[in-house]
Structure formats: structure tokens, C-alpha cells
């Protein structure tokens, strides 16, 4: 492939408008053709996994938000499910439905940001502002349930932080109504746009075998036609009760991934509708004295509840020794939490399987032999968040 002429080394990032944070890719270029692409990570390393070993179990939750900050609820869910499994807690039905509703909302949030930034990378700058306009509706719901727009930290071990707000119904219905219309508008701008198709089809192609070898997950894997979705393969939080399809691609290129993510957004809306309609009445926390906080009313009136409250807040709770791996389908792929407990009130080890990090491996096989522009398209199409890559 080399022409005998000297090649040029181009340092793409860590400060670059299109690397979605602080990704640094060192490209070996022949003209504009990429000969080699090496990713360098660690510019956003926060040591979340190590930090978790020094925190009470419930204090880890806010840190998980900071990994994939576009999908905070998914991270919360993965963590609390793993700890609940270690503790053997079964949460009430309402909690399961609320968690499904909110994580699907998170998927919408993530995919909206992805669509906007990906389109911006390819040059269609208006999309970013359109998708952020719709994202506002979702952030409003985050704010309504948790008081926070981005770092929601809403899920708790054994339930939710607070009960669902009264007007959640109205707000979610608004999203269900507005988003399909707006998605048609996005599609009008992009799906059949000749330039958009030209930029994405045949770019960043990976085969099913390559994807499996690199253990890719999420839309990246499904774009090659492999049907693997954790929600179907190993249902959690009551996903087996919901009716939805898993969109699959054929070519494994950026355009397939674009179509898949759009379809996933529609399926998320479908799941949200079912979750909203089927939302049962009941408590928003499991009744597990000593582990899950008692209701505030009881804390104010009953001695025992007050003691439990004090104990949990100051000293946490002990988790039986053992280990468990809980995987969930985050918007970016399989997000796994491997928790090891030594029987104390702090995790012995927390290991996260970050989909962004593992999917990022696909960048190099995707871009070798292609142009610099395609590198940017592929980074966008892989859908990474550096907070999660580096943790």
C-alpha cells in the first residue's frame, strides 16, 4: 500500500472537534489514506472501579452516572441489579416497570445525542440542534423524577430514590407523541439524502466474524446481522414481559447502524408505551429492613425505622460474600457489572464491562485503507463516550 514516499503521522485528538471528548487516535497517513490507526486512551480516567472499593455500596451509584453520562439510568440499572442479585432482593413490580420505562428513555436520550453528533461529524450541522431540542423533553423527565437533568442517580439498591412524580404520565405521553413526528423530520433530512447515503454506505464495514472476534455488542454487532440483544438473550428487570423487535442489519456499515439506531428508538417508544400503560400500583422500594431505607414517614415516627435509617446511612449494609456478573443492554451495547463481595459493607472489587471501550477496538479494522473523513464517520458511528471508555 505504501508508495515509497514518506508517510505522515497525524495526531487526531485528544483535543479535536470530532473525537467525542478526549479520544486520541494516531493516524499513519499516505496522502489522505489511512495506513494505521492507533487509539490512545486514558485522558478521562477517573478510577471509578478502584474508587468503588472504598465506598459503601449505595455510595457507588452516583459514580456510575459519570461513566456513560449520556445514559446515566442504564449505568445505575446495571449496578443496582448486580448488587440486588448478591443481596437476593426481589424488587416490586412497579420498580421494574419504572426502571424499564426510564432506561428506554435513556436509550432515546443516547441515540438522539448520537444522531446529532454523528450528523454533525458528517457535516449536517442542523441535526445537532434539532435532536438537542427533543432531548430537552427527556431531560425534563429526568429532572421530574430525580431532580437532576444529567447525573440522575435515581435508582437505588432495592428500588427507586423517590416515588414517581404525579405528572410523569403526561410528560412521557408527550414524548411518545412528539418524537415519532420529529423522527420523520430527521429521516426526511437524512435517510434518502444522496450525500448522506454516499458518506455512510460501505464505510466502516465489519463482518459478523470480525464483530464476534472483537466481542462487539450493541448496534455495532447487530448491524452485521448477529441477533444478540441482552434484553432478549438474558432478560432482566422484567423485559421478558415486553413486546419489542430487535432490528438487524445486513452489511455492517455505518448506514446500517444509522437505520438500526433509528429503529431502536421506535422500539424504545413502543416499550415505553407498554411500560406506562402496564405500570402497576405499589411501593417504590422493596421491604428489606437493614438494607433498603424505610419510608420517611416511619423514620419520623418509629424508633426501629429511625435506627435502620441511621445504620444504613452511616455504616451501609453487609453484602453476603460471593460474586455476580450482571449484563444489561445499554444504548451502546452490553454493559456488564461484575461485583465481588467479601461479606463486608464495601465492594471487594467492581469490574465494569464498558461497551464503548470494547466497541472502540473496531475502529482500527474499520478505517485502515480508507480516508481521513471516514475515520471521523466511523468514530461517530461506533458511538463512544470517553467517560465510559476510560472510567
Amino acid at each position: 500500500m505504501t508508495t515509497g514516499a514518506k508517510t505522515m503521522t497525524l495526531n487526531l485528538g485528544p483535543q479535536h472537534p470530532a473525537t467525542h471528548g478526549v479520544l486520541r487516535v494516531v493516524l499513519e497517513l499516505d496522502g489522505e489514506t489511512v495506513l494505521q490507526a492507533t487509539s490512545y486512551l486514558g485522558y478521562l480516567h477517573t478510577g471509578i472501579e478502584k474508587n468503588a472499593e472504598d465506598k459503601l455500596y449505595y455510595k457507588v451509584i452516583p459514580m456510575t452516572d459519570r461513566m456513560d453520562y449520556l445514559a446515566p439510568m442504564s449505568n445505575n440499572l446495571g449496578y443496582v441489579l448486580a448488587v440486588e442479585k448478591l443481596l437476593g432482593i426481589e424488587v416490586p413490580e412497579k420498580v421494574k416497570y419504572a426502571r424499564v420505562l426510564l432506561t428506554e428513555l435513556t436509550r432515546l436520550n443516547n441515540h438522539l445525542v448520537w444522531l446529532g453528533t454523528h450528523a454533525l461529524d458528517v457535516g449536517a450541522m442542523s441535526m445537532l440542534l434539532y435532536t438537542f431540542r427533543e432531548r430537552e423533553l427527556i431531560l425534563d423527565i429526568y429532572e421530574a423524577v430525580s431532580g437532576q437533568r444529567m447525573m440522575s442517580s435515581y435508582f437505588r439498591i432495592g428500588g427507586l430514590a423517590y416515588d414517581l412524580p404525579i405528572d410523569l404520565d403526561k410528560k412521557v405521553k408527550n414524548v411518545l407523541k412528539v418524537l415519532p413526528e420529529k423522527m420523520l423530520e430527521y429521516e426526511n433530512l437524512l435517510t434518502n439524502n444522496r450525500i448522506w447515503i454516499k458518506r455512510l454506505t460501505g464505510v466502516g464495514t465489519i463482518t459478523a466474524q470480525q464483530a464476534l472476534d472483537l466481542s462487539l455488542t450493541g448496534p455495532l454487532l447487530r448491524s452485521t446481522g448477529v441477533n444478540y440483544d441482552v434484553r432478549k438473550a438474558a432478560p432482566y428487570s422484567g423485559y421478558e414481559k415486553f413486546d419489542f423487535d430487535v432490528p438487524l442489519g445486513k452489511n455492517g456499515d455505518c448506514y446500517d447502524r444509522y437505520l438500526i439506531r433509528l429503529e431502536e428508538m421506535r422500539q424504545s417508544l413502543r416499550i415505553m408505551k407498554q411500560a406506562l400503560n402496564g405500570m402497576p400500583e405499589g411501593p417504590y422500594r422493596a421491604h428489606v429492613p437493614g438494607v433498603v431505607l424505610p419510608p420517611k414517614q416511619q423514620v419520623l415516627t418509629q424508633m426501629e425505622a429511625l435506627i435502620f435509617h441511621f445504620k444504613i446511612i452511616t455504616d451501609g449494609f453487609k453484602v453476603p460474600a460471593g460474586s455476580y456478573y450482571q449484563a444489561i443492554e445499554s444504548p451502546k451495547g452490553e454493559l456488564g457489572f461484575y461485583m465481588v463481595s467479601d461479606g463486608s459493607n464495601k465492594p471487594y472489587r467492581m469490574r465494569v464491562r464498558p461497551p464503548s471501550f470494547i466497541n472502540l477496538q473496531a475502529l482500527s479494522p474499520m478505517v485502515i485503507g480508507r480516508l481521513v473523513s471516514d475515520v471521523i464517520t466511523c468514530i461517530g458511528s461506533i458511538d463512544i463516550v470517553l467517560g465510559e471508555v476510560d472510567r
Partner: protein, 330 residues
């Protein structure tokens, strides 16, 4: 008309046109920000002056007072003259564009064009293509790899579009039988005589090439802010940066004015005075530029070359051939 009066008149016309174009550039940025804002669900500038109308002046002042950074790796001399090279051609082309009908003033008949060159179209093609030197040299001399890539891209792009840009005008010259813009305008006295109706293919090719020539989306390869940071502009700051910008907008205005003059009857139009018609037509095409920017994704470098050499170039040649045959037969 005495020699002195003639010279004074030319100088006055040059100054007026120069000021008009430079004001046009400033307010083109305002129009772009305002319109782009509206298209993108924003409001654009609002704080400085009514409707943000003083924003371009504030921006200009800000850029003048910014520190002028010259990178240590740069070729200093070329780095300094590159913006000037990029800046001038856009204005040069305006010398031959007819701005209105001749006016009577103090007993003299003054033609409203700086120079009624009999090879006006050639002059425009010659000057507008000079701008690429500014971009290529600026990109190369910055000593930055992103700038270099931007510079290379811009020269490759300009060369491939220059050919079709010129060829698209050939059928019009064949129909009109003249290279003088004044005569071409004079031939389009009614809407039905507009050359856009006589040869729409030429207009389409020319307009696409004009967008590519001015490095605007979907052909903004040399800048490509998501890929090359800012392309050839990356290392520039202060006034040099703004000179590139003014140059780009001057090129846009020139391209729009050429399209209006050659295909849409120039200053000809009912009721309003000639210069106003030209300005209106230019604004319409500026709006198209901005609209493209809000709508289209960016083409890739190789796809851009494909479009230029494999689609537009043969099409332009074919257009010349077909026009020739039709002119010969009828």
C-alpha cells in the same frame, strides 16, 4: 470627458464598489448567522444593535484587537501574504460586473461598471481562480498538518471545479456571441430572455461549481471543521483570519453576482433602480448558500473529485456540444 475627470470617476467608482462589497461581506455574515439560526431553531445574534445588526462591526473590531499569533513552525513571509492573496481576487472580479444602467451626472454619461471589459467573462474566470493560491499557500506555510491537508484539499478541489466552472459559461458565450458582461446583460431585457431559461443545464453546472469554488457546504472540504479542525485556517488568528473570511464571503458575493448577471438578467428589472435589482438577486443566491449549509451533509474528498471530473465535466462538455449543434442547425 477630460482625462482627469475620467481618472477621478474611476477612483470614485472603485471606492464605492469596494466599500459596498466589503459592507456586503460584513452583512453576509450577519445574514448567515441570523438565517442559519432560524433554520436551526435558534435566534442568531440579537444583542448588538437592533436585530443584532451591529454584530459584524463588533466581530470585526474584536478580531482587529486579537493577538496575531505566528506559529514557530511557520514560513513567516508566505503566512503573512497568503490572506492577502485570498482576499483580493473576490474584489477584483467586481471590476467588470455591470451594476446598473448608465446614469447622467453633471452632464456626463457615467456607465455603472468600473470597466466595461470586452472579455469580462474571461477576466472573472481568471481572477476568481487566483484565490486558491491564498488557501493552498496559507495551508502549506502554517506548518501544521491539519492546515496542510486543508491546503491540499483546496487546491485539488479548486482545480477540478475550475474546468467545469469555465465550461459551463461557454454555451452562454456561444448564444450571446460576446464575452462582455454589459452586452450579456443588455440581451436579457425581459424575463423570458434570461439565459437560465435558454440553457438551464449551464446554470445548474455553474451554480454547483460556484458553491464548490467558494468552499461552502456541501463542498467545504478545505475547512471541514469536524475533520480538519479548521483546515487551512487552523493556525491563523486576528486580522489574517478575518481576511480569509472576508475573502470567502467576497467570493460568494462575486459568484452570486456573476450568476445573477449571466443567467438572471443582472441589474435589469422593473420599477426598482438597477443596482437594487442586482443586490436583490445577489441576496437570493446568498440565501441559497446558507440554506445549503443548513441542510446538506459534507461530501467526502474523493466523492467530490468524482462529482467534479466524472459528472460535471462531461456534462458541461456535452452541453457545449449540444448548444453548438442547436446553434448550427437553427
Amino acid at each position: 470627458m477630460g482625462d482627469l475627470t475620467y481618472i477621478v470617476l474611476i477612483i470614485v467608482k472603485v471606492v464605492v464598489v469596494y466599500m459596498a462589497v466589503i459592507t456586503g461581506c460584513a452583512y453576509a455574515t450577519w445574514l448567515e448567522r441570523k438565517l442559519l439560526g432560524r433554520l436551526q431553531h435558534r435566534v442568531g445574534p440579537t444583542y448588538v444593535g437592533p436585530f443584532g445588526l451591529l454584530q459584524p462591526i463588533a466581530d470585526g473590531l474584536k478580531l482587529i484587537f486579537k493577538e496575531d499569533v505566528i506559529p514557530s513552525q511557520a514560513e513567516k513571509f508566505i503566512l503573512i501574504i497568503a490572506p492577502v492573496i485570498a482576499f483580493i481576487p473576490g474584489f477584483l472580479a467586481f471590476a467588470v460586473i455591470p451594476i446598473g444602467p448608465p446614469i447622467e451626472l453633471f452632464g456626463y454619461t457615467i456607465p455603472l461598471t468600473i470597466s466595461d471589459l470586452n472579455i469580462g467573462i474571461l477576466f472573472i474566470l481568471a481572477t476568481t481562480s487566483l484565490g486558491v493560491y491564498g488557501l493552498a499557500l496559507g495551508g502549506w506555510s502554517s506548518g501544521s498538518k491539519y492546515s496542510l491537508l486543508g491546503g491540499i484539499r483546496s487546491s485539488a478541489q479548486m482545480i477540478s471545479y475550475e474546468v467545469s466552472y469555465g465550461l459551463a459559461l461557454v454555451p452562454i458565450v456561444m448564444i450571446a456571441g460576446t464575452l462582455s458582461l454589459n452586452e450579456i446583460v443588455a440581451q436579457q431585457s425581459s424575463v423570458f430572455d434570461w439565459y437560465v431559461f435558454k440553457n438551464p443545464v449551464a446554470f445548474l453546472i455553474f451554480w454547483i461549481c460556484a458553491v464548490a469554488e467558494t468552499n461552502r457546504l456541501p463542498f467545504d472540504m478545505p475547512e471541514a471543521e469536524s475533520e480538519l479542525v479548521a483546515g487551512y485556517l487552523t493556525e491563523y488568528s486576528s486580522m489574517r483570519f478575518s481576511m480569509f473570511f472576508v475573502g470567502e464571503y467576497a467570493n460568494m458575493i462575486t459568484a452570486a453576482a456573476v450568476v445573477a448577471t449571466v443567467f438572471f438578467g443582472g441589474w435589469q428589472g422593473p420599477f426598482l433602480p438597477g443596482p437594487l435589482w442586482l443586490v436583490l438577486k445577489v441576496i437570493v443566491f446568498m440565501v441559497f448558500y446558507i440554506w445549503f449549509r443548513a441542510t446538506f451533509p459534507r461530501l467526502r474528498y474523493d466523492q467530490l473529485m468524482d462529482l467534479g471530473w466524472k459528472v460535471l465535466f462531461p456534462l458541461a462538455l456535452l452541453n457545449v456540444l449540444v448548444t453548438g449543434i442547436i446553434l448550427y442547425l437553427f
